[in-house]
């Protein structure tokens, strides 16, 4: 008879990059059950937005997340523009999408490094985080910020692309392409990686549907959803890309899906830069938003990002509700962390790619 131990993981733990707390009940090396505690980075952003004007809220929204900051402000601006009935120039849509795709590459590479680190493959961690710098450099050249770009305003974008910048983007991403191929080959073939990730943290197609899981996790379980394709909107309706799916549903499948998505994002960026339409990048928006409510969805790196905004006709939003893709991923964890090996717990936790700052807001 082995004694049961309670193992705390978090709020501070080498495995976690953001504060969240798990308490695993362990017997020997087996995890019997787990409990979770959230809210360490709750900042009350939704409420704070309601006390500010629509224009001020853009900057606050951008600080929800440190990885996918741009897609947050894009979704918010798009929602407000819909309420205002603004016709945003096509060029602004393209520039927004360009940053969204750069952010996707950045987020996926970051995640890949974290997973590699958690299975003890520090070399790959160092490599992916080094390669991620290429994308961060592009972002810095483009907007001046590596993480927060402050490029979105209601009615368009603030920063325009010139030909020199376009060449830099294409050139730097060409550097990245062979490195992605190496990473893909490594995760497909390296035996110790497959030992640690295959058939770990399996989410079946039914479970994925039941938990409303979105993004790469859902796609790795065979659920074919992607807001970029499902809601045709400029510029994605004019671009050609594949929605990557896999059927295995384990951490390994999620890894492959994410690496292949990174390559698709690379293709998308090439198309965006070559097809960039000319014209204005911003139109003037009214301060006061007509009454009404709107729901807006965008594809963040981790999946569908959902914004609900209600306006009462003033210059301040009456209600903002944000649902981030991490929420359904969190809800799968109690099931995934039942009756598994303790050594697999880090793989499962990193496999769902939690963004705690997004989830807590």
């Amino acid at each position: 008879m082995m004694t049961k131990l309670k193992i705390p993981i978090g709020p501070h733990h080498p495995l976690l990059k953001e504060p969240i707390s798990f308490l695993l009940t362990v017997e020997g090396e087996r995890v019997l059950e787990s409990s979770m505690r959230l809210g360490y980075v709750h900042r009350g952003i939704e409420r704070l937005c309601q006390e500010r004007t629509y224009v001020q809220a853009v900057h606050l929204i951008e600080r929800i997340c440190g990885i996918c900051s741009h897609v947050h402000s894009t979704t918010y601006c798009h929602a407000v523009e819909t309420l205002l009935g603004l016709e945003v120039p096509l060029r602004a849509h393209y520039i927004r999408a360009l940053l969204c795709e750069l952010e996707r590459i950045h987020s996926h590479l970051l995640w890949l490094g974290v997973l590699a680190k958690n299975i003890g493959l520090d070399t790959v961690f160092m490599y992916t985080w080094r390669d991620r710098e290429i994308v961060l450099d592009i972002m810095e050249d483009l907007s001046g910020g590596r993480v927060s770009h402050a490029i979105n305003v209601i009615g368009g974008v603030k920063i325009d692309l010139d030909h020199k910048m376009m060449d830099i983007i294409i050139e730097k991403l060409e550097e990245l392409a062979p490195k992605l191929t190496i990473a893909l080959g490594l995760f497909e073939n390296e035996p110790t990686v497959r030992l640690r990730t295959q058939s770990i943290g399996v989410i079946t197609k039914e479970e994925a549907a039941r938990h409303c899981v979105v993004g790469p996790i859902a796609r790795a379980s065979g659920v074919d959803i992607d807001v970029r394709r499902d809601i045709p909107r400029p510029p994605y309706d004019g671009l050609e890309f594949n929605v990557i799916t896999h059927t295995a549903g384990d951490v390994w499948a999620r890894t492959l899906v994410r690496i292949r998505e990174t390559r698709e994002s690379h293709r998308l960026i090439q198309q965006i830069v070559s097809q960039l339409p000319s014209g204005d990048i911003v139109v003037k928006a009214k301060r006061r938003v007509p009454p009404g409510e709107v729901v807006c969805r965008f594809e963040a790196p981790r999946g569908e990002l959902f914004y609900y905004i209600r306006s009462d006709g003033s210059n301040q939003p009456a209600r903002i509700k944000i649902r981030t893709p991490t929420l359904p991923a969190l809800s799968t964890l109690p099931e995934q962390l039942r009756d598994v090996n303790l050594a697999d717990a880090p793989v499962i936790l990193s496999g769902v790619d939690l963004c705690i700052a997004c989830a807590d807001r």
């Binding site: 193992i7 705390p8 299975i119 003890g120 520090d122 070399t123 030992l195 640690r196």
Partner: protein
């Protein structure tokens, strides 16, 4: 007691060469090399040469605390005992053909002494009450049972070929027959894997897997005790590498032969870089995967190697 040349020689052996000072120096050099090589593999610059010394001095100056309820005295005793056994083992392992002590059967004594730190490591987990420590201690014992058998089987290959349990004689046999590496390459690889398991290095750092159980049994250790542990493990690395070189790449040239010393240094450095390469190439195994790997693959392979040696004809 009179100070005779014998006493002076013994003291020199114990304290300077191949005893404490030499092993400590080697452990720092190997530690630095290891970190530097891994850093270069990972596209980093790596630490400056004095980093291991600086780390050691820094740890000595740190506060020494243990959690309430832990057995502080035992916790202090454990690294001291392991360090003593590693140092004793170091006296019997020839360095470039020079061993301080030697007798028929010293090989077995060295293997036994090198096993003590593992046991102490396990106990360190138990006396320091933390949950991560206890789990890490359990894992280190489980790991011991997985790698030790193939490790010992692989090491007994050279002993059988050399026809002796004395390391010095195994080395001198290779002077006439050639390196045992050529006769049992499989045994060498198995011994290397066993050494990685023994030293708990990547990718077999299961008892101290950072993303799972922090630092394993040493989680609660701080300050001087932790410094002692690091010193012990680094010296264990040195002695283990010397042992492997002697058994598989033995050359009995005496110390005064510059060529022999150079040869020994090169061989040792090659093994250090092999270990570093292994730690930067592979993902960490799970403890059940290691047990399976050990008993289903390593043990049969080492038996094949042994059968090959015996049948090839001694």
């Amino acid at each position: 007691m009179d100070i005779t040349p014998d006493v002076i020689k013994s003291l020199f052996n114990l304290l300077i060469f191949p005893g404490f000072t030499f092993l400590l120096f080697c452990s720092w050099v190997f530690d630095w090399l290891d970190r530097k090589i891994i850093a270069r593999f990972q596209g980093r610059v790596g630490p400056p040469w004095y980093q291991p010394v600086a780390d050691f001095i820094k740890l000595l100056g740190k506060e020494d605390v243990m959690p309430t309820g832990s057995q502080t005295f035992v916790a202090l005793l454990l690294p001291v005992i392991s360090l003593a056994s590693v140092l004793t083992a170091g006296l019997y392992v020839p360095v470039a053909g020079y061993a301080a002590l030697s007798f028929e059967g010293d090989f077995i004594v060295v293997l036994f002494l090198l096993g003590i730190p593992t046991l102490a490591y396990f106990l360190a987990g138990w006396v320091s009450v933390g949950v991560y420590s206890i789990l890490g201690g359990n894992r280190s014992l489980l790991q011991y049972f997985s790698y030790e058998v193939p490790f010992l089987l692989a090491l007994s290959g050279p002993a059988i070929m050399g026809g002796s349990w004395q390391i010095g004689r195994i080395v001198s046999v290779q002077n006439t027959s050639g390196w045992f590496l050529f006769f049992q390459p499989l045994g060498f690889v198995l011994a290397l894997i066993g050494l990685i398991g023994k030293l708990k290095r990547d990718p077999l750092d299961i008892p101290k897997a950072k993303s799972e159980i922090l630092a394993g049994p040493l989680t609660e250790f701080t300050g001087r005790k932790l410094a002692l542990w690091h010193m012990t493990i680094n010296m264990q690395t040195v002695v283990g590498i010397f042992l492997l070189v002697n058994l598989f790449l033995g050359n009995a040239q005496a110390l005064h032969d510059i060529f022999g010393v150079l040869m020994f240094t090169v061989q040792v450095l090659i093994i250090v870089s092999l270990l570093s390469t292994a730690s930067s190439l592979f993902a960490r195994l799970r403890i059940d995967q290691l047990a399976e790997f050990g008993w289903k693959i390593l043990v049969p392979l080492s038996l094949v190697q042994l059968a090959f040696i015996i049948l090839m004809g001694v």
